[in-house]
């Protein structure tokens, strides 16, 4: 018997176990996972940091999962990596992808719904800031998810890339009256027409450029096309289709 042992330690312990019913190896693995809190840890990192054999680590993880002490989460940055979190933590946005992901997959329907509503609000307001649209959307109660300002900024960025709205800076005058000079605002893209002209413009197809309106402009084989080659204007099937009145 060791002199250092306390009276409670007199009770003989089961070999390789602790007070939570975990073996030493399981405890090491759990500690590594718990330390990462809501960031989670990749199984390979566990193996590297613990210096335990692969089989022991795998067995420990399985046991901890069965006990409900840890959970497996999908890492949207790298879906093939098995990532584990202590049960009491919620996965961070870096792991889950944030508000726009559902179960590791991009929630396209939700994103499109938010984009559509924001676009409508911008059209109604004529000149809109992120804050004004955010307040309007939250007040409408359209979405259960708690969307923050940065979420709306991401949506507005996407609408700009879709060419539905344009980003401008307020000059404090005219339609920007009431908005601080230099503040970033958004306006719907589209000509300011009224009545029948507006309806006609809305119904019209988007403008196609000169190059995009001919077969060569969008041909994936244009680099192989030569006047007398196998692929040539004379033999081109895209031209055949284009000129088939």
């Amino acid at each position: 018997m060791s002199r250092l042992q306390s009276p409670s330690a007199l009770k003989r312990k089961r070999p390789d176990s602790n007070s939570q019913g975990m073996t030493d190896q399981e405890s090491v693995v759990y500690k590594l996972i718990h330390e990462k809190e809501n960031m989670g840890i990749w199984v390979r990192d566990i193996k590297r940091s613990s210096n335990l054999q692969d089989t022991i680590v795998n067995k420990s993880i399985k046991t901890l999962l069965d006990k409900g002490m840890i959970k497996e989460v999908i890492n949207v940055q790298n879906k093939t990596r098995k990532t584990y979190l202590a049960a009491e933590f919620e996965p961070s946005p870096e792991l889950t992808g944030g508000a726009w992901y559902d179960d590791g997959n991009l929630d396209v329907d939700f994103i499109n719904a938010v984009k559509k509503l924001c676009s409508q609000k911008i059209k109604q307001l004529k000149v809109a800031t992120v804050e004004s649209v955010m307040d309007s959307v939250k007040a409408s109660g359209a979405f259960k998810a708690d969307l923050k300002k940065n979420h709306f900024e991401e949506i507005f960025g996407a609408l700009v890339l879709d060419n539905e709205v344009m980003e401008v800076e307020s000059n404090g005058m005219g339609e920007f009256a009431g908005i601080k000079v230099g503040k970033v605002c958004y306006k719907a893209i589209g000509k300011r027409r009224v009545g029948a002209a507006a309806a006609a413009a809305a119904a019209a197809e988007p403008r196609i450029g000169a190059m995009a309106s001919i077969p060569c402009g969008v041909c994936p084989r244009i680099s192989s096309c030569t006047p007398d080659g196998v692929i040539s204007p004379g033999t081109c099937v895209y031209y055949q289709k284009w000129l088939d009145f």
């Binding site: 996407a158 879709d162 005219g174 060569c216 994936p220 244009i222 006047p227 204007p233 009145f245």
Partner: protein, 551 residues
């Protein structure tokens, strides 16, 4: 430097209009730059007489220019030391203008009327004419009096649509003297002029001489000079190569004084493009205001590619707007509002202390972006469209995952699209490798290696135990060059396809109208529609070529 398909397109245009021999000489010049007569003879394997005639045709139609370099010539064509030799250079821009004659005619006729338009047509068809030839042609065609013709010519010169021809063989100074002179007066770094630009800068007469037309003075001079000349060819007919080979009169130089001023015409077309761009992005009122600004500042513009118009006050702009009867209902406040809207970013109109000037560069860039985005959308799809807009606006390298997040797309799809765009030359790709360990550095220090060669990174990256990231960027200058070359290629293809269609249906074309029945009539109708479609597509594509090449 003209791109490969630019050369092929230009050669095709010359072949169609002047025949194979002239096209061969033209291609030789386009591919090799400036050459002497002997060098052209050697390269084309044509006789000196034929080469000379071809050069005369090209010069007559402003597609080539002769010149002499001031410095001594060395190399294969060296004659006596210090003896300057005449060289010839193809004028690629002017060759492209040959498909725009109908647009130029439209500009001139709308502004100056039908009779000026008809006179102008003659100059386009014949390249360059003396006053006497212009008068003779007008008399033969429309029986117009000399005074009327001279009046019309005066109007065209006053409007700068017609100019005095450049010097036939100007002496071009060495580039060092020229660059130093320009660098002294300008504090901004100036791109060196191409040889073509240097030659034309020297060849052009002074502004006063270039647009100075005195009625009857030229005719007297022509009469005196032509007294002992053999009779020239009829002015009413265009020069064809088969005529040249037997026409000894052309062995002597024909004096031609006047030609179309393509610079001014290009400027008009650039203005039209700017107005159209504003009309699409804003509304008709904004386009009207811009149009008025262009008209008011027209006289001060001296270059096609000028960056900004001269500043104008609000009063001046308003007065110009209401000059047009159609705009009488526009109020002063409405004009001011339009200017304020145009001044918002992306700032098509700059304001400075109550004056307004047009930013041509911004408008041109906006129109170019629209054209490129249209191609990207149709060729690569919606995801690529968003990626392109993101990278174009960012102007810097962005990592794949970051791009996927910003456009709300799956990372796999984003990666696939990025590679497709990169393969077609629309994006640049760079590989960033994060290395934890390097032999020469302590293990704790991370170092970053930017590796341009993808294969090299694959071989060495894993051995360092690091991670690699692909970064993407749009190089605007390279992309514009790629797009322009594709446009030349597409224009050539449209022409070749039209020729193919006509060739396939020549029997139907040769049938008299009353014999076209049933399937023959259907073929004929189809061919008519094919011609219309291809012609209109060519005109639209040429507008895009101007946008990327000339504006």
């Amino acid at each position: 430097m003209v791109s490969q398909h630019g050369i092929l397109y230009a050669v095709h245009l010359i072949t169609n209009q002047f025949g194979n021999l002239v096209a061969k000489v033209c291609e030789c010049l386009l591919r090799n730059g400036a050459l002497t007569l002997q060098a052209i003879v050697r390269r084309t394997e044509l006789s000196p007489a034929k080469v000379r005639n071809c050069l005369l045709v090209l010069i007559q139609h402003n597609c080539a220019q002769a010149f002499i370099l001031e410095e001594s010539v060395s190399g294969e064509d060296a004659g006596e030391p210090g003896k300057a030799l005449t060289q010839y250079i193809a004028l690629f821009v002017n060759i492209l203008h040959r498909v725009r004659f109908s647009k130029f005619m439209d500009v001139v006729s709308k502004e100056l009327g039908g009779s000026c338009g008809e006179l102008f047509r003659g100059l386009l068809e014949h390249g360059r004419l003396t006053v006497k030839q212009i008068v003779d042609r007008a008399g033969a065609n429309a029986k117009e009096s000399t005074n009327t013709v001279q009046e019309d010519l005066g109007k065209l010169v006053m409007a700068h649509y017609v100019e005095c021809c450049p010097a036939p063989e100007p002496l071009v100074p060495p580039p060092d003297a020229d660059t130093k002179k320009r660098a002294k007066s300008s504090k901004v770094m100036v791109e060196p002029l191409t040889l073509e630009q240097r030659v034309m800068a020297v060849a052009m007469p002074s502004a006063m001489r270039r647009f100075s037309f005195v009625p009857n003075a030229d005719q007297v001079a022509d009469d005196q000079q032509n007294v002992n000349q053999p009779p020239s060819k009829d002015v009413g007919e265009k020069r064809k190569l088969h005529d040249l080979e037997s026409d000894t009169a052309l062995e002597e130089e024909v004096e031609c004084n006047w030609r179309a001023n393509f610079e001014e015409l290009l400027r008009r077309l650039r203005h039209k493009t700017c107005v159209d761009t504003i009309k699409v992005r804003f509304d008709d009122a904004a386009a009207t205001v811009l149009s008025a600004m262009l008209e008011a500042s027209r006289a001060e513009e001296d270059k096609v590619k000028t960056a900004n118009s001269v500043p104008l006050s609000l009063n001046t702009i308003y007065e110009e707007v209401v000059k047009n009867e159609k705009n009488h209902s526009m109020t002063f406040d409405h004009v001011r509002t339009c200017l304020e809207e145009l001044s918002c970013p992306p700032t098509f109109v700059k304001t400075d202390d109550e004056s307004y000037s047009i930013d041509f560069t911004k408008i041109t860039e906006a129109a170019q972006s629209e054209e490129i985005e249209s191609i990207v959308l149709k060729r690569f799809g919606e995801t690529a469209y968003k990626i392109f807009r993101l990278l174009f606006r960012a102007g810097c390298l962005m990592e794949t995952d970051k791009i996927a997040d910003r456009i709300f797309a799956e990372k796999k799809e984003t990666s696939k699209t990025l590679f497709k765009m990169w393969q077609d030359g629309y994006l640049l790709m760079e590989l960033l490798v994060l290395c934890k360990h390097l032999n020469i550095l302590p293990p704790a220090i991370k170092c970053y290696c930017i590796c341009r060669n993808w294969l090299w990174a694959v071989q060495t990256g894993p051995s360092y135990g690091g991670s690699s990231y692909l970064l993407w960027k749009v190089n605007k200058r390279l992309l514009r060059e790629t797009i322009l070359d594709e446009m030349f290629h597409a224009a050539l293809n449209l022409n070749l396809r039209l020729a193919h269609e006509i060739d396939q249906n020549k029997e139907v074309l040769n049938l008299p109208p009353d014999k076209r029945e049933g399937p023959d009539k259907q073929k004929f109708d189809r061919l008519r529609n094919v011609r219309l479609l291809i012609h209109s597509s060519l005109m639209k594509l040429d507008d895009a070529i101007m946008l990327f090449h000339d504006f």
